[in-house]
């Protein structure tokens, strides 16, 4: 059943809210010409209508809590409920960001521990928790790289090298930081083309941005060579930590030679994805970049009578910082969730994360290959994710990756990431994560085989998908051409 817009339930004069003061106080302290006459365009609905509307809408979503959601590069693992419970404890959610440190020791203590644990899992020297998503972490990282070069008078280093398989945020970030993007190709085996890299390195090189394991689902084996080459050329190395889940407790980006890293806490550390966010893109650096870390950072002051005191370090203590990235300290509530998750798992639990994430990915890849699907890198071990290319099936049957994706929805699975990375044609990037069972993966294989077989038999039938979702395939072209971005009924 189609759910109307909330505005369609609205009628002028529905009885007043119980959620606001009973009376309208006078706005008598303000000049009349600063005020608005009326506010139309918000719905007037009852609490029941609101609850019913948004409950029904929620049921139209696929989500981890309802479906297997193997969206590659996004680490859609289970979000433990206790993390939310803790982050919503009254004293935490009611704490004002500018409240004095004395009244925030509980929160700051957690944040200090979080910083320490993040150092341990990255091998970096210091952490700043402030970036609010991966892309902002990238911004912080590249801005630090620039600040580093500038501080050394190295003003010409403006090029950021990015492999062609990189996530779109990498080149976009470089541009936002006023850098120039230089793309280098990937070799047939999935590793970076070292010769091409050599070719672009030089005195203009600010640094390189790498994901390892890469978005191709393989571990970059020559990472140490790459690090040596870039450092020799005077550049720095940026680690895009979106895939940290694959190597948690197995290898440290710091050991690989990276100077700066961001981590998506909403991926590896399982804070909720919330229908698009919020996330957290905390950054870590080695000594080189330490002075430039964005503020604030949580510090500790030893005080006389035993107990330590946790404090904010700001621009005062960190004059070379690239500065602030958010009005306050970033996505504190998300950081708290990650703190709970990390303390729950502990050191051994974290090693198991990468162990089972990798096991699940390699198993699913093996099963799909054995079922006749084409892996993009069949000779390689999968990391926590892997790529299947449907280009042969697409050629034979005209059923393409998008059709597969929609047919999966009808079978109760959220589709993997489609058409990314762009260099593999007709690709599915599949990331099962460690929280799924073997039995769920088997069911996914069955669905894939069923769709493939149907495609060979009756391709038009597959192209009709999805049939069981609240709407069928949507007209994206019309959406972009005949823009309808807000309810016109106002």
């Amino acid at each position: 059943m189609k759910e109307p817009l909330i505005f369609e339930y609205s009628l002028p004069g529905r009885r007043g809210p119980t959620h606001a003061p009973d009376t309208m106080d006078a706005m008598d302290g303000l000049p009349a010409d600063a005020l608005r006459d009326e506010l139309s365009g918000l719905p007037e609905v009852s609490e029941l209508q609101t609850v019913r509307h948004f409950t029904r809408l929620s049921q139209q979503n696929f989500s981890i809590d309802t479906h297997f959601y193997p969206l590659g590069s996004c680490t859609m693992k289970y979000n433990p409920r206790v993390c939310n419970r803790v982050a919503m404890m009254p004293s935490f959610i009611n704490r004002h960001p500018l409240g004095p440190e004395e009244h925030g020791q509980g929160f700051l203590h957690c944040m200090f521990e979080l910083q320490d644990m993040l150092k341990a899992v990255t091998g970096m020297t210091e952490i700043s928790l402030t970036p609010m998503a991966g892309a902002q972490g990238e911004f912080a990282g590249v801005a630090m790289i620039r600040a580093y070069h500038l501080a050394r008078g190295d003003t010409e280093r403006r090029q950021i090298i990015v492999p062609d398989a990189a996530h779109g945020t990498n080149p976009a970030t470089a541009t936002m930081c006023g850098c120039e993007v230089v793309e280098i190709p990937t070799m047939a085996d999935g590793d970076v083309d070292i010769e091409a890299l050599r070719g672009v390195l030089g005195p203009q090189t600010a640094g390189i941005m790498l994901t390892n394991p890469s978005t191709l689902g393989v571990f970059e084996r020559k990472i140490e060579t790459i690090a040596a080459l870039v450092h020799e050329a005077g550049g720095l190395l940026y680690y895009d930590g979106a895939n940290l889940n694959a190597i948690l407790g197995r290898a440290l980006p710091g050991d690989m030679g990276f100077d700066v890293i961001h981590i998506n806490l909403h991926k590896t550390f399982s804070t909720p994805h919330g229908g698009g966010g919020p996330g957290s893109g905390v950054v870590g650096v080695n000594e080189r970049l330490q002075p430039y870390l964005p503020v604030p950072i949580v510090g500790r002051r030893e005080i006389k009578h035993g107990n330590d005191q946790y404090i904010w370090l700001t621009g005062k203590e960190r004059p070379q910082s690239i500065g602030r990235l958010s009005a306050f300290m970033g996505n504190a509530g998300i950081l708290l969730r990650a703190w709970v998750y990390m303390r729950l798992l502990g050191a051994r639990g974290m090693l198991r994360v990468s162990e089972y994430a990798t096991l699940n990915a390699n198993y699913l890849m093996a099963r799909l290959v054995q079922a006749g699907f084409q892996a993009a890198y069949p000779e390689r071990r999968a990391s926590h994710e892997f790529i299947i290319s449907l280009k042969d099936i697409a050629r034979e049957t005209s059923v393409n990756t998008m059709d597969f994706a929609k047919a999966l929805l009808d079978r109760g699975f959220h589709a993997p990431t489609t058409y990314f990375p762009m260099l593999v044609p007709e690709c599915l990037l599949i990331e099962p994560t460690e929280t799924e069972t073997m039995q769920e993966l088997d069911a996914f294989v069955d669905a894939m085989v069923e769709i493939r077989d149907l495609a060979l038999r009756d391709p038009e039938e597959v192209k009709k998908a999805p049939l069981s979702t609240p709407v069928r395939r949507l007209d994206d072209v019309r959406a972009a051409r005949q823009l309808d971005l807000a309810w016109p009924g106002r």
Partner: protein, 454 residues
């Protein structure tokens, strides 16, 4: 083993299919020189009961205070239904609606959100959120520089009446692209219009106006907007969205209205939470939509002609446009938008207006009562829901003394605005009761007396 569902039999069967002897073997492509086998520095795991107890102990340190701090983050009553609904698993554990047909819940909700923000700001289109108010402001400046066809300038006019943290975040972000923020001084708590007039003839991409200003005061938005447009500058409005329930919307400023509005969405149902997650909102004129950063949801139809919702104008975004994208933002603040949309639906226009008016009345009452104390005065007469209070002595020790009584008395302005003297910003929202206001005033009287006594 927390959250990992594999039985030993499963693992054996899986390794068998893979053709590996052990899970260790799966990591063989990591060079041996890089392999580690333990994580020193991470404590051992704990049970859910133990972490809950530990968190409870930590949280116990942070509660029990009554706050009169605003300064960009505001405590408002949030109806119980808001977070009950927003944390439903289907919202909480979904991601960006890449598969539109499997995400109509989130997509329709965002479309409704966009519609509400358009209503509040009086502009044409909205995006689906940015990180927070400060980054939304920075993105608005970048957008204005890109979008202003009539100007070649990489300079933007801002003002000391704007939130200092917003200015500093914008500085962090804009400086990398060599965009310059030119800051106007304040007079009487609002932007010094003479200083603005003195910029006549100079080329700027945009003029930024915060309404109400950081100091709670009311800017001459109509005059400033018209003047900016006359000089081919775009107007960026930075507004508390709750204030917009009662204040003139940016789309109606001056003759033509502001071009871009942005700000902090937190007052719309988001808890204080030590500073985040909040969300930045942004709306603009239709003609600028292709320069807008962030995701946008559009309404369209499916193959059967049924209306449905989908992400649109993605060609602006990094995953398609890569280095030429309007912004690098990818993950946004979706869950907060979910809560805000539910919050606005529950309160409606009337509820938001009453809440805004109650904040105004409460702060007026608090300020008036404080001003009756010896050595306390109100700096500026017109303000929305924050007032600058001047003391006859340094602010910091007074705030500290109040804090010892469990009262967070306000935001000390001495660092950011030394020109205001011993000044602080106080805020009494709808969440503060009359009795709490009384307690504050009484406490302040005692504290001031105590300090004077010494």
């Amino acid at each position: 083993m927390p959250f990992i569902p594999h039985t030993n039999d499963d693992v054996a069967a899986m390794l068998d299919i893979i053709g590996a002897q052990s899970t260790e073997e799966l990591f063989q492509e990591i060079p041996a020189s890089l392999r580690i086998t333990e994580l020193a520095g991470v404590p051992e795991g704990m049970s859910e009961a133990d972490i809950s107890r530990l968190a409870q102990q930590r949280a116990a340190h942070d509660g029990g205070v009554v706050s009169f701090i605003g300064a960009g983050a505001y405590e408002h009553y949030i109806p119980a239904a808001v977070w009950d609904l927003a944390t439903r698993g289907e919202f909480y554990s979904a991601y960006t609606p890449y598969q539109a047909e499997a995400s109509q819940g989130t997509l329709q909700l965002v479309y409704e959100y966009q519609s509400m923000m358009v209503a509040l700001t009086g502009l044409d289109v909205s995006n689906a959120s940015l990180y927070d108010g400060a980054t939304a402001f920075a993105e608005a400046c970048l957008m204005a520089v890109r979008a202003n066809r009539k100007s070649q300038s990489r300079r933007v006019v801002t003002t000391r009446a704007m939130h200092p943290a917003y200015r500093s975040v914008a500085q962090t972000i804009l400086s990398n692209q060599g965009i310059e923020l030119v800051e106007l001084p304040i007079r009487n708590g609002t932007t010094d219009l003479d200083a603005l007039a003195a910029l006549e003839g100079e080329d700027f991409a945009a003029v930024c106006i915060q309404q109400p200003g950081f100091l709670g005061t009311i800017e001459a938005v109509d005059e400033m907007t018209d003047q900016a447009h006359a000089a081919n500058r775009l107007v960026i409005a930075v507004c508390n969205p709750l204030a917009l329930a009662v204040l003139k919307p940016p789309g109606s400023w001056g003759e033509a209205g502001a071009d871009i509005a942005c700000g902090e969405g937190q007052p719309l149902g988001i808890p204080l939470s030590s500073g985040g997650p909040y969300f930045g909102y942004m709306t603009c004129r239709k003609s600028l939509v292709r320069q807008m950063p962030g995701r946008i949801v559009g309404r369209t139809v499916d193959v059967d002609g049924t209306p449905g919702f989908t992400l649109t104008l993605q060609a602006r975004e990094q995953h398609i446009r890569r280095s030429k994208a309007t912004s690098n933002i990818c993950t946004n603040q979706g869950l907060m938008v979910t809560a805000a949309t539910i919050h606005m639906s529950l309160l409606g226009a009337e509820g938001l207006r009453r809440t805004a008016a109650r904040c105004h009345a409460n702060t007026r009452s608090l300020a008036a009562k404080l001003a009756q104390l010896d050595g306390v005065s109100i700096a500026f007469e017109q303000y929305f829901h924050e007032a600058v209070i001047c003391l006859d002595q340094p602010v910091a020790p007074v705030l500290e003394a109040l804090s010892a009584h469990g009262i967070l008395g306000g935001y000390d302005l001495s660092d950011d605005y030394p020109e205001l003297g011993n000044a602080m910003l106080v805020c009494a929202t709808d969440a503060r009761s009359e009795q709490e206001i009384e307690t504050y005033v009484t406490c302040m009287r005692d504290v001031l007396a105590g300090v004077q006594a010494v």
